[in-house]
Amino acid sequence: MKRIGVFVCHCGTNIANTVDCANVAEVAKDFPGVVYSCDYKYMCSEPGQVMIQEAIREHNLDGYVVAACSPRMHEPTFRKCAERAGMNPYMVEQVNIREQCSWVHADKTKGTGKSIDITRMGVAKVAQNEPLFSTTIPVTKRALVIGAGIAGIQAAIDIADAGYPVTLLDREHSMGGKMAQVDKTFPTLDCSACILTPKMVEAAQHPNIEIVTYAEVEAVDGFVGNFDVTIRKKARYVDVNKCTGCGLCSEKCPKKVASEFEMNLGTRKAIYVPFPQAVPNKPVIDAKNCRFLLDGKCGVCKKVCPTGAVDYEQKDEVIVERFGSIVVATGFEQFDISKYEEYGAGRIPDVITGLHLERLMNASGPTMGKIKRPSDGKVPEKIVFIKCVGSRDEAKGRPYCSRACCMYVAKHATLIKEKIPTSKSYIFYMDVRTAGKNYEEFYARTQNEYDAQYIRGRVSKIFQVGDKLIVRGEDSLLGRPVEIEADLVVLAAGMDPQQDAKDLARTLGISYDQHGWFTEAHPKLRPVETHTAGIFLAGACQGPKDIPDSVAQASAAAVKAAGLLSKKELTAEAQTAGCNEAYCSGCGLCVAICPYKAIELKRISERVHGGTRERQVSSVNQGLCQGCGACSVACPSSAMNLKGFSNDQILAEVDALCQR
């Protein structure tokens, strides 16, 4: 019989308030195999762990159960604690009496009873535990960064500076992401391009960074340290090795279409670079609009290209490469304002979004930096801003705050006043949230020195009368309706996840929330990690973020990624599946169900009645197995067992609960 210890944690008052911890410890003394049991205020603390280690030595324990918080939180802590006392770390079971008892039961009797039950189950399981030993796996010392906006660029540069090769991938033709579209940045008002494009160039020229634009991740196989990533490089119809970026092709191209980069306020050609400072500065042919690709006529770009770089025959190229770690930095999309029909969004041309205004203010934008309204090119005098459009609005399915809008509206109001000194800005707001460094000061200056009038209340309606936009809302501080005749209305549209964020999450095997933002492993303690080892998050793909936050998080993700790459080898999961070949009939169900492609069938020969016989059994690759347990469930003959969660262990728990 194993000698088992039980340690009941109070978690301060988190558990002790609704669970009688002393009683749990007392009752546990009588469980089969238990030779020592106690309770303590904080088991995870230093004195708590010392207490456990002393008990292990003093009572010569073979294993122990700690009844505390979620194993997701502290299982590694208590495993390490056992290891320091010379016990195999897998002889520890953590049962959750916090999330599963104290936090969900208001009634102390119920909470205590349930805690006793699940502790009893834990004890029964420990009695069945066997020591497990980890193996090691090699690390491919290369990182992949998906998304080359400011977050992706920063992460790539930091990993590259740490000395590891990085592939920086973007599905657009150029690096830069949303920040490239922005005119100036708050709270310093430095030109966005002036701080972004040098970073783009730095990344492009870094000896450790390979830039792959106009490409998408199609599939990800493998596991931490060894991801095999399938990348589709889309056809640009331009040979980037021959192209010098002279721009003659775009100049001569006869086809003009609305420019996505200019938010459809300007035009581009069918062969184009999205903006003047694009990196790489090599054009792409837009196959949907190219006359030659559509109906074989034209071909001007090919004729004028001095280096013969235009290649209408180019095809997509699919490559598979191995990376040790992946940083996801795919960013956000601006909320689609047409959901606000009351604002005439999409119907009234002079109701625009923040990103439209950025382009109108930008010196290299469609109006050369002159703010003109889209309908008739007039310079607006009265400008109304509406905040929280697509943010903090349950009715539109966006309950979250977009974090950047308060500040970018203040920035817009400041810049408009500088460009049009006679203008007047009105800003409808619900709250003003300026939590960053120097943000509040910036906001105060917008009000005091730039004469922006803040009106607290929601706008209910915008409509056009003549060439004026009537903006009707409420001033909730005055308790009165207000109506403003404006020349231009700017909606501070919030942030949405990328439309296909969920697809990418599934490809990568990471999780996302109900809106499509990627979720971190722990909101406070593991903010840049995902639940999938080796995959990290940077920037607004995880939730709305401004530039400083995105950059900070990108550096954090880079450290995590580089830290992983710096290891000679990784410790593989010890709780992997194993096959009992004596039971295995070789049916192959586990092969089909394994999400990590970790199981294959092999042939073994065995001696039967004096002769030998060949048969087929399954075999688990310990490096690939992630310990999910799907195979154990699928196996019809119970040959597959997940170490640490074997059928016998689970049944022991069930028996313990049923036989009380």
């Binding site: 029909e341 009351e342 119907r347 009715a395 309606k461 409509f463 009368v465």
Partner: protein
């Protein structure tokens, strides 16, 4: 096509033209409207302010009667009636509410009868070609401001169309050959509930609706709501005083415009009964009045 009909009180009172034109147009389109036998008040203006059970039980009785008569889709011309009937239909989908209601009205409700707005029936159930085929006198050049009011589109869970920019009636009117104007007051309140208690406030709100229809260049307004129509039509003179501008906007039920386009005479549709002169815009009929079936 066969529909149940819940005419509501207005069809024979303040909105008699609505009742007349509804029947005339349905007849012309070959739609059979079967009046719910022994129908009662829907409780629109006051019941929901007094008592929740009363407010859902009154319409529920009508729905139960319709069920017993084997009617599934109940066409409801009045916007207020529609909203109360729809609210009741939704409420009794809940088993507990249904039990309470069944006890009060002493009838079972299975939920087979669905409340439908007459506008929705004409605009969505009929193919545009069906309407166009019946048009003998297209309303060419007539600029119409389609005014939905609040009851058909709010609250959003009972709405027949977008609460902010509904287009259903605009499409229907366009099929009659008229030109719907784009305007901002489609769903703004006309002040109906204050019409008697605080008349000056109501007139102020009505005046805004009329003003923006006029500014949008409309020749007339089309509505699916008897209460809105009373306000916009009857109080137009007062509104002119408030606004200091001439209006002279005929207020038609959308069914009247359908009838006019179908070539039915103004008297058959009730167009001669309006407060604000409305016959001039509708030129001579080309078809004789359809015979009562």
């Amino acid at each position: 096509m066969r529909y149940g009909l819940y005419p509501g009180c207005s069809a024979s009172g303040t909105g008699i033209e609505y009742g007349m034109s509804t029947k005339a147009v349905a007849r012309r389109l070959g739609i059979e409207l079967v009046e719910i036998p022994d129908w009662n008040c829907c409780g629109a203006s006051s019941a929901h302010n007094r008592d929740h059970l009363l407010s859902i039980a009154l319409p529920a009785r009508n729905l139960a009667l319709a069920e017993q008569a084997g009617l599934t889709d109940i066409a409801i011309p009045c916007a207020a009636c529609y909203q109360r009937m729809k609210a009741s239909e939704r409420a009794v989908a809940d088993a507990a509410e249904r039990r309470d209601v069944a006890e009060v009205i002493e009838m079972d409700i299975k939920g087979t009868a669905k409340a439908r707005s007459l506008l929705e029936v004409f605009a969505n159930d009929l193919e545009p070609e069906t309407i166009q085929k019946s048009v003998v006198k297209p309303l060419k050049g007539l600029k119409v401001a389609c005014y939905y009011g609040c009851l058909l589109v709010k609250p959003a869970e009972l709405a027949i169309d977008s609460p902010e920019n509904p287009m259903m009636m605009d499409r229907l009117i366009a099929n009659l050959g008229a030109t719907p104007v784009d305007w901002a007051y489609k769903t703004e309140c006309c002040g109906g509930s204050l019409a008697i208690t605080r008349a000056h406030a109501a007139v102020g709100m009505t005046a805004q609706v009329l003003k923006y229809a006029k500014l949008a260049g409309a020749d007339c307004i089309a509505t699916p709501c008897p209460l809105c129509t009373s306000n916009l039509d009857m109080r137009q003179k007062e509104a002119e005083k408030v606004l200091g501008m001439e209006l002279g906007l005929p207020i038609y039920y959308f069914t009247e415009l359908m009838g006019a386009a179908f070539g039915l005479p103004a008297e058959e549709l009730g167009i001669n009964r309006h407060f604000t002169e409305a016959t001039a815009l509708i030129k001579k009929p080309v078809a004789p009045a359809p015979a009562e079936r």
